[in-house]
């Protein structure tokens, strides 16, 4: 009796297996999983970007949204990749990750041979490790100083050129707006939380004061110098005066929250905030403009940290061909143009900077071409696999300084000693 049942079960199972293979052979629909940090309307926009590809190939795409903090994303991705996780096919990677994660991704040089000549060479270079193209550039990023042109006009202040001018202008507007009844108004919001974003903000202060870029391209540790100390002292003086004390816990979205509610005169943020600030639910639509970040003193030059996101195909993916096809679609000109129009993301393809639609709808983009071409890279190239630790030490030293935990000079001297330990005797090897 039991034997009979078992035999019947086996027969049914065999038929089912055969049926499914036959079915699979004709349709072969695959599900590609993409993991990406999500800010603003990223999730809804993403669905629109992949739809044409899904219709063309019959495959489906699932987006796994991650926290906006790049530090949190990196920790999770490193864990998945170290474990050889095959659930994720495509990772959206930060510009600084390529040297640290190169071994886990597929070489895209061959697949992207038509796309590469259309890209800015410096961006392709940042994603190439030892001759291997680790990730396809999706969009690039360089921050801007957002300012409220209505308020600058109202208080008759010029667009600030130096950090000192910025502080003075912020103070004037903040005092005026508070006297007019808005007790929650602040002069300047930025990203002060202890995470990768603070490394970006602080690198801009230090660099625009002529204080170097933490670790120079040849591997020298340059951070302990009087100009860097002056830059951090300046930033510290903002906390609690022109910037809310809570700025020390702000990331991009918290800063944008205060700014977009109309409660700040200036904001340091990435171009994505441009579209969102002009959105229908924004209190400041049409009332703001952007400029380059201020400088330390006359003769210094403005510094913007080079950001940007890329798409990498996991070596452990079970659908590599489909994943590469999707990555090429998402990094291609159609989607980059959609991204530029919808999210004011800066394209990585040269031709799109002359695109009339983009120039009409997102004037910030053609205007920003030179800013990102001259942007400062974070020291991820010279510090190799130690970049994360270097960045964490740097943002901790800055965060300590800003929150009054030790002086800028002491904290940078300690930072220098810590970095020398990490660097070791073999120049970061």
């Amino acid at each position: 009796m039991e034997m009979k049942f078992a035999r019947r079960f086996m027969r049914t199972a065999a038929v089912a297996v055969l049926a499914s293979t036959a079915f699979g052979a004709t349709v072969r629909a695959e599900t590609i999983t993409v993991v990406s940090g999500a800010v603003g309307n990223a999730v809804e926009n993403f669905k629109a970007y992949v739809k044409p590809w899904e219709e063309k190939t019959g495959n489906t795409v699932t987006l796994v949204p991650m926290p906006a903090s790049t530090t949190d994303q990196f920790g999770q991705y490193r864990l998945w990749l170290a474990a050889g996780n095959s659930d994720i096919d495509i990772y959206q990677t930060d510009v600084i990750w390529a040297p640290q994660l190169a071994n886990h991704f597929v070489d895209l040089t061959e697949a992207a041979k038509d796309l590469i000549p259309q890209e800015f060479p410096s961006i392709v270079q940042s994603q190439t490790v030892g001759g291997k193209l680790v990730a396809l550039p999706l969009f690039t990023d360089a921050p801007a100083l957002y300012y409220r042109k209505d308020l600058l006009e109202k208080y008759n202040v010029a667009v600030p050129k130096t950090w000192t001018e910025l502080a003075a202008a912020a103070k004037t507007i903040q005092d005026g707006e508070r006297a007019a009844g808005n007790a929650d108004f602040w002069g300047f919001v930025w990203q002060g939380n202890a995470y990768e974003g603070l490394t970006c903000d602080a690198l801009e202060w230090v660099k625009s004061y002529g204080g170097g870029q933490i670790v120079e391209p040849d591997g020298t540790i340059s951070i302990n110098n009087p100009k860097a100390v002056a830059a951090l002292e300046e930033a510290k003086s903002w906390v609690g005066t022109i910037s809310p004390p809570g700025v020390l816990a702000y990331q991009e979205e918290e800063a944008r929250g205060v700014w977009q509610a109309g409660n700040a005169a200036f904001m340091r943020n990435w171009p994505y905030a441009y579209t969102l600030g002009n959105g229908a639910d924004s209190a400041i639509a049409g009332k703001f403009d952007v400029t380059t970040l201020p400088i330390g003193a006359e003769g210094d030059s403005s510094a913007a940290t080079l950001g940007g996101w890329n798409l990498a195909v996991s070596k452990y993916s079970k659908h590599q061909d489909a994943a590469i096809s999707l990555a090429l679609w998402l990094a291609g000109p159609e989607v980059q143009k959609m991204r530029a129009l919808n999210e004011s993301n800066l394209p990585t393809l040269k031709a799109l900077y002359d695109d009339p639609d983009i120039a009409a709808k997102q004037p910030i983009i053609p205007q920003w071409k030179n800013v990102f071409l001259n942007a400062v890279p974070r020291p991820s190239a010279p510090t190799l696999s130690h970049y994360n630790e270097v960045s964490a030490k740097f943002w901790s030293a800055v965060h300590d300084t800003l929150s009054g935990n030790g002086s800028a000079a002491d904290n940078l001297a300690n930072l220098e000693a810590d970095l020398m330990d990490i660097k070791g005797d073999n120049n970061w090897q």
């Binding site: 903090s69 530090t71 949190d72 990196f74 920790g75 490193r78 864990l79 170290a82 640290q100 071994n103 929650d184 002060g192 939380n193 202890a194 995470y195 809310p244 004390p245 809570g246 700025v247 020390l248 816990a249 702000y250 918290e254 929250g257 205060v258 409660n263 696999s385 994360n388 630790e389 964490a392 943002w395 901790s396 965060h399 300590d400 929150s403 009054g404 935990n405 330990d421």
Partner: protein, 322 residues
Amino acid sequence: MTTTSLEHGKDRGASLQQQRARAAFWFLAPMLVALFCVAAWPLLRTIYFSFTNTSLDNLYGGHLIGFGNYLRWRTMPSGAVRYYGTLVDPDWWNAVWNTVRFAIVSVSFETVLGMIVALVLNAEFKGRGLVRAAILIPWAIPTIVSAKMWAWMLNDQYGIINDLAVKLHLLDHKLAWTASTDTAMIAVLIVDIWKTTPFMALLCLAGLQMIPRDIYEATKIDGINPIRVFFKVTLPLVRPALMVAVIFRMLDALRIFDLVYVLTPNSSATKTMSVISRENMFDFAHFAYGAAQSTLLFTMLAIFVLLFVWIGKVDLTGETNR
């Protein structure tokens, strides 16, 4: 019935005691196997990793290096000796201090508040069942959700707590609770106490309900005042249950991770041992160094439990009650 069937089995010669022990072993075996797989093996692996130079990028390529992750030194060309390793890492000792401070303060508050809540719930009143269920809500909410919820409530610009406190004149200006190094730990403590007091109350309540009612009737007849009754009757009788509850909470508090990670990420004022160990393992890829910190955390927990059981004469086996 079990004994008869066993007696007729092939082990007829063995004594009843032996047969029972053998049966017990087979009943326990699945649990022992499961415990070995989910607890002992990962623990042993972690301890092993802490003596190697494994990095996250090459999990199977590490080799044994002895105590280097804990402490090693190098003589500089100048003749000075430099020490490296977890045991001389100021970040680690800062984390230890944060964790210990957090555990002592949070568990003290939770014990006192939990006891008070339990005493209230132990009294007979209308709707007691409903209140008992309602008070468990904070405990039932996943930590990640409650941490995020509190992060918004504590926000310096739009948080309801600042808004209420300023309107009621408890604060003269809005505080950046999670950002400022002075208040970050207080914020973590508030959320943890809010979340865990119900758990403590539940354990205390279970202890209170084991106290025979006739003792209270006797004190009532003797006319002893309620405060004296609490300290002379209730507290001594509930003590064994309370001690076990405190151990549970202490172990939980010493390994706190999720709340700190979500509420105040990367703040040196609140980083705990678990947070810093994860940071080294995954963010910095120093897998072995992080494993050494995990091993130290485990050692501290083990020493703590042994000391607590020994000094407090806590009966974890429950044999004396029988």
